[in-house]
């Protein structure tokens, strides 16, 4: 594969002019978060305005930097800003610095742009919440951490951002944590993410041990000298991290429950930005994965499994937000798949990530707008016929729907079809397996998104008696309109012009003309056909026939999909039980412990009895004996070694 890597380009030129302001991108929202969280009730009056102004200001700086980058030669578009020497131990040195290049710039504009729109929307959506100021504080914290994640110039700084977005995510999922099951959802997200974060920290340790550095420039520079085993280990650990953050198989279970958070959070964090951090991590680490083909194959497999997994779950969900969450999981599966394909897929993974950021955020906000008018109901079986009363929401959702199913001409058509094409590139069994998985996914996507759209906006009105649906105020509909315009035209702007490929080429490398296993025209036709079949099926099932207000029992597959393909049961029997058993047997010699605190259910009585038992068993004589034995062994070893 003719690949050219400009790995040295991650060591950008020193920051001058407008680029010396890169730190402000992060500092502004961080300042907002600090004022809003620490300021208390005094900031209630203007909190939401300050909270919106900060990401907007970051967006303006990002835009100025973007145009400044455009004015440079393609090879000189990476700019580093050294902040300070973080840790220096002997000759090991870790610097904290920022890297603005083509890849991070895509994310900066997405995060601040879509982020600002969602902040504006939230002013209306959260208007009646007494804790609105705190909500904006957390959102600003999230934006700052996410920007740090994508602007970091080393894995260590990235890790700080990585933990930061996780923190903001838990705070926001549990924002309404007076509802116990919402708190449980936050806990689930926390645990799944800890597993992923463990992967990232181990990856960093291996880098440090094997390559002696953790900066992007250092790691990528040393990658071609490192052994393939080391790179594979690093790659798999990075993938584990990506799976946790991006809700990929087998760590996908938290995303559906994370919908407990307020809807703007679902739009910003659990659709447009944070959950795509895994995709960013894999593409940023391209030189590592290029040296580890086995790890790359695992990436593709994970992506393919997740895209089908999410799509199947999406077909059976009646909760509008959970259906959208399943769809997000599936679409990120597409991106991970593309990221695993190598240079042939990198640019399209990012491209789909950008278009998805627009149309999925738009649809989530649309769902929020529907909920706003329907007393916060989420059951689509009690929606229907809303197109006549919520014209703006309906129309913007229409564009999002057409974009995600890949209607010719709209954004998804350009980005997702490119991934399907890329999946068909190569020899042997791979293009057939992964290409066909991607193709089937497109058909299923069309089915469940059409189902969602028709059940919500068309058909007969199945409303409960107490609702009076109405259109949302302008502060909510204007962001919807802007996002809908992006859903419609962003693909056209970047796709057929080849702009996104040219822009990203210095970072992710380029590839020559690739031959696909089937001709491109055949693939496009097949995709459009499958999409048409999906739409037709959904139309005949959910528009021609009346939708019952309670879900029918359904087939075994439907029931399985409704229960998320039994992912919780699998997690419990495969991970939780053996883990508990293992720790118990590891510590069986410590007879003082009473387990159960992990669930917070250990009763006080049990604890007290344990404390008394502890008094009885903690004999000094047995302690002294253990010391004596230890000392004897110590002397023995020393005599063996020393004499």
């Amino acid at each position: 594969m003719p690949t050219t890597f400009a790995s040295q380009s991650v060591q950008g030129a020193a920051a001058t002019g407008v680029f010396s302001l890169s730190w402000l991108l992060i500092a502004l929202p961080l300042f907002g978060a600090a004022v809003l969280i620490l300021g208390g009730r005094r900031t209630d009056r203007f909190g939401h305005l300050l909270g919106t102004a900060m990401p907007a200001a970051s967006f303006v700086i990002g835009l100025v930097q973007f145009f400044a980058l455009l004015g440079r030669d393609a090879e000189d578009r990476a700019v580093s800003q050294h902040l300070y020497s973080w840790i220096s131990v002997g000759s090991f040195q870790v610097d904290a610095g920022l890297l603005v290049d083509q890849l991070s710039m895509c994310f900066v504009l997405l995060i601040t742009g879509v982020g600002t729109l969602i902040h504006i929307y939230s002013i209306g959506y959260m208007a009646h919440d007494t804790e609105r100021r705190r909500f904006f504080g957390y959102l600003n914290l999230f934006v700052a951490a996410m920007l740090l994640l994508v602007l970091a110039d080393s894995y260590l700084v990235l890790y700080v951002g990585w933990e930061g977005v996780g923190l903001a995510s838990y705070l926001l999922i549990g924002f309404w944590n007076h509802v116990p099951e919402y708190a449980a959802a936050a806990k689930k997200a926390f645990v799944a993410n800890r597993v992923g974060d463990f992967g990232l920290s181990v990856a960093i340790m291996i880098m440090f041990w094997q390559l002696g550095t953790v900066s992007f420039a250092g790691v990528f520079g040393a990658a071609d000298r490192a052994s393939e085993a080391a790179l594979t280990a690093i790659g798999l650990m990075l993938l584990l991290a990506a799976c946790g953050k991006s809700a990929q198989f087998p760590l996908q279970s938290w995303l559906g429950d994370a919908m407990a958070g307020p809807t703007p959070v679902s739009a910003l964090i659990h659709a447009a930005t944070m959950v795509t951090a895994g995709v960013y991590l894999i593409i940023r680490s391209a030189p590592v994965f290029e040296g580890a083909p086995d790890a790359q194959l695992v990436v593709v497999i994970v992506g393919a499994i997740t895209l089908l997994f999410g799509a199947i779950i999406g077909t059976a969900k009646d909760d509008i937000k959970k259906a959208l969450a399943a769809s997000t999981m599936s679409q990120i599966g597409y991106m991970i798949l593309a990221a695993g394909l190598g240079p042939v897929g990198y640019a399209f993974a990012i491209f789909h990530l950008l278009t998805h950021g627009f149309f999925k955020a738009g649809m989530f906000l649309g769902a929020g707008s529907v909920m706003h008018g329907m007393n916060d109901q989420v059951d689509m079986r009690r929606f229907g016929g809303l197109s006549s009363v919520m014209k703006v929401t309906w129309f913007t959702f229409l564009l999002g729907w057409l974009a995600i199913i890949g209607f010719p001409g709209l954004s998804g058509f350009w980005s997702k079809d490119k991934i399907i094409e890329a999946a068909f590139v190569g020899d042997g069994w791979r293009p057939w397996v992964f290409g066909i998985a991607a193709l089937i996914g497109a058909g299923v996507t069309a089915f469940y998104m059409t189902r969602l759209f028709l059940m919500t906006f068309h058909g007969e009105r199945r409303w409960t008696e107490d609702v009076h649906p109405h259109e949302s105020p302008a502060v909510m509909t204007v962001p919807l309109v802007v996002l809908a315009i992006g859903s419609a035209f962003l693909g056209l702007l970047l796709g057929p012009t080849g702009a996104i490929q040219h822009w990203l080429e210095p970072v992710v490398g380029s590839h020559g003309e690739q031959t696909t296993a089937l001709p491109v025209s055949v693939l496009t036709t097949l995709t459009v056909l499958l999409v048409a079949v999906g739409i037709g099926l959904a139309w005949s099932m959910y528009l021609r026939r009346p939708v019952p207000a309670t879900a029918p029992v359904g087939t075994a597959l439907t029931r399985a999909a409704r229960r998320d393909l039994y992912q919780d049961a699998v997690n419990e029997s495969l991970l939780m039980r053996p883990g508990q058993y293992l720790t118990r047997s590891l510590v069986y010699f410590d007879n003082r412990g009473v387990d159960g605190a992990v669930n917070g259910v250990a009763a006080l009585i049990g604890g007290t009895s344990g404390r008394f038992r502890r008094l009885q068993t903690g004999f000094v004589r047995s302690y002294a004996l253990s010391m004596l034995v230890g000392a004897a062994v110590l002397v023995g070893i020393m005599l063996l070694v020393g004499v």
Partner: protein
């Protein structure tokens, strides 16, 4: 032999370099003053006078330590070494002792203070009830603490084994007493005190026997003399290695390394919580200082013999501390096992004995341990201070199930405790991360990669139980009759704020302190 030569003609009055001993003299002087205050001052005024005296003494001693920077050498005819590691550790002990003493003086969490009104009263007796009713406050803890601190200052600076033994006893005896003076759960506290005393005496015996054997080997108790004897290779190797092993037992007992750790959970749990924080932080600093001095200065020539030993102990300590901590249900016991695990991490850094950085000339093993001790000390004192705030009718609520949903009662306290736990777990931007980074990179540079792998795996295991507490505090429903979070006086607030501040500062901006530790990494020989 030596006894014969000790005739009147050769006996000289030892020279005493008062200036170099000034930090210790100040602390001991303040301790004696404290005893006088106890004897002659009225009850009401004592509390304030003792506190001001103690903190003032600590600050003055710290200033004296700073003043000594760069004036290295040996004092009192070679019995005390004033060098980089000694001064850095003395400074560390003094800055850690300030928040520890502030937490001990906390008046408002418990009526009458943290300590029992009279240690001599029988628990549950009429005598105790009367005293409690009067709300009498115990103040002899301040001179006791100052004596302990004085011993701790001498311990890492002691340049011969007898001085080191004296220092060990001076720091240990007041600690045995302090452990038994809790106001609540006095039986548990007294049991802890007795266990600590018995086992401490047991370990002192090992230590003393080790000194005897080494004296038999080298004919001197001075570390430089032992080092010379080792390099000459004269004498019986059996005496040398057995003596080294026994000496190590005594020192490893004090740092709480496995298999000499069994006292730690019981004592940490039973002792009054501010005392636990003080012991966990300052004793560890002093003991590691002495351990490093003995092994680097006295037994540096024997490095190939004792390094495998430290490897084995470090691995065992990390595994025992991290794994057993998982099933703990009492927050103080959990922190005790965590402190055992941290002793293992510090030992990991210590194996990089002769790894001298070519560029700066620092000894990585020493500098990384120095930094780790400072960072860990502040986090520990802060964490134990937070434990004192969570209370129910019976005093501190230390059972983990009582901490469920703590964030809903007090988000601030839960957030601060999360910060300390994150530092223990070694999350970036906290001091714990910088410390782990320093010791692990020193160990890698010293060729101890397998040790680092064990360390990393055990860090992950440890992170599990730290984050279990975070999950418990933030994501679990609070128990209906759960404990409340008490509002402390300014003293405990200052302790927690200072600890949290240093924990963050050493995570975000550690360069200055790392540099200082690097400059202070050379022992006087």
């Amino acid at each position: 032999m030596n006894v014969v030569t000790l005739s009147a003609a050769t006996f000289q009055t030892p020279s005493v370099e008062y200036r170099q001993l000034l930090p210790m003299l100040i602390v001991f002087g303040v301790a004696l003053l404290g005893v006088l205050v106890e004897a002659f001052m009225g009850r009401t005024a004592r509390q304030h006078v003792q506190l001001v005296l103690a903190v003032g003494g600590l600050v003055a001693a710290f200033v004296a330590v700073v003043g000594l920077a760069g004036h290295y050498g040996v004092a009192v005819m070679g019995a005390v070494a004033i060098d980089g590691p000694a001064l850095f550790l003395q400074g560390t002990i003094l800055v850690l002792a300030v928040p520890a003493v502030l937490a001990m003086a906390e008046p408002s969490l418990d009526r009458g203070g943290v300590f029992t009104s009279a240690g001599s009263s029988v628990p549950g007796s009429e005598h105790e009830r009367v005293l409690t009713a009067t709300g009498v406050t115990q103040t002899e803890v301040f001179p006791l603490t100052m004596f302990a601190i004085g011993g701790m200052l001498l311990f890492p600076a002691a340049n011969d084994l007898l001085t080191m033994f004296v220092a060990l006893e001076v720091l240990s005896l007041p600690l045995y007493l302090l452990c038994g003076l809790s106001r609540r759960r006095r039986l548990l506290s007294q049991e802890a005190s007795l266990k600590y005393f018995l086992l401490g005496a047991f370990s002192s015996a090992f230590f003393l026997y080790g000194i005897a054997l080494l004296y038999g080997y080298a004919g001197t108790v001075r570390l430089s003399g032992i080092a010379a004897a080792v390099s000459n290779g004269s004498g019986s190797d059996t005496l040398l290695v057995v003596g080294t092993a026994l000496l190590a037992v005594g020192l490893l007992f004090k740092v709480g390394a496995a298999p000499f750790h069994s006292w730690t959970p019981d004592v940490y749990q039973g002792a009054p919580t501010p005392v636990t924080g003080f012991m966990a932080a300052c004793t560890k600093v002093a003991a590691f200082g002495a351990l490093m001095r003995v092994f680097y200065v006295g037994l540096g020539g024997l490095v190939w013999e004792w390094q495998p030993l430290i490897w084995a102990i470090a691995i065992l300590t990390m595994v025992v501390g991290s794994v057993i901590a998982i099933t703990q249900t009492d927050v103080k016991r959990m922190l005790a096992y965590s402190s055992i695990a941290h002793a293992g991490f510090i030992l990991t850094g210590m194996v990089a004995t002769d790894t001298v950085d070519a560029r700066t000339g620092e000894i990585l093993g020493v500098s990384s341990v120095l930094f780790y001790l400072l960072a860990y000390g502040f986090t520990t004192i802060g964490a134990f201070a937070v434990v004192t705030l969570v209370r129910d009718a019976g005093g501190e609520a230390t059972h983990l199930s009582q901490w469920a949903g703590l964030a809903k009662r007090s988000p601030l306290v839960a957030a601060v405790f999360t910060l300390f736990l994150a530092a223990f777990a070694g999350i970036p931007l906290t001091s714990g991360f910088t410390g782990k980074f320093a010791v692990f990179s020193a160990a890698i540079a010293g060729g101890a990669t397998p040790l680092v792998i064990v360390g990393v795996v055990m860090s992950a295991v440890a992170a599990f139980f730290y984050f279990r507490v975070v999950v418990l505090m933030f994501f679990s429903a609070p128990a209906p009759d759960g404990p409340a979070v008490a509002v402390p006086s300014a003293l405990t607030t200052m302790t927690i704020a200072l600890s949290a501040g240093v924990t963050v500062l050493l995570g975000v901006w550690p360069t200055q302190v790392l540099d200082l530790a690097a400059q202070a990494s050379q022992f006087v020989r």
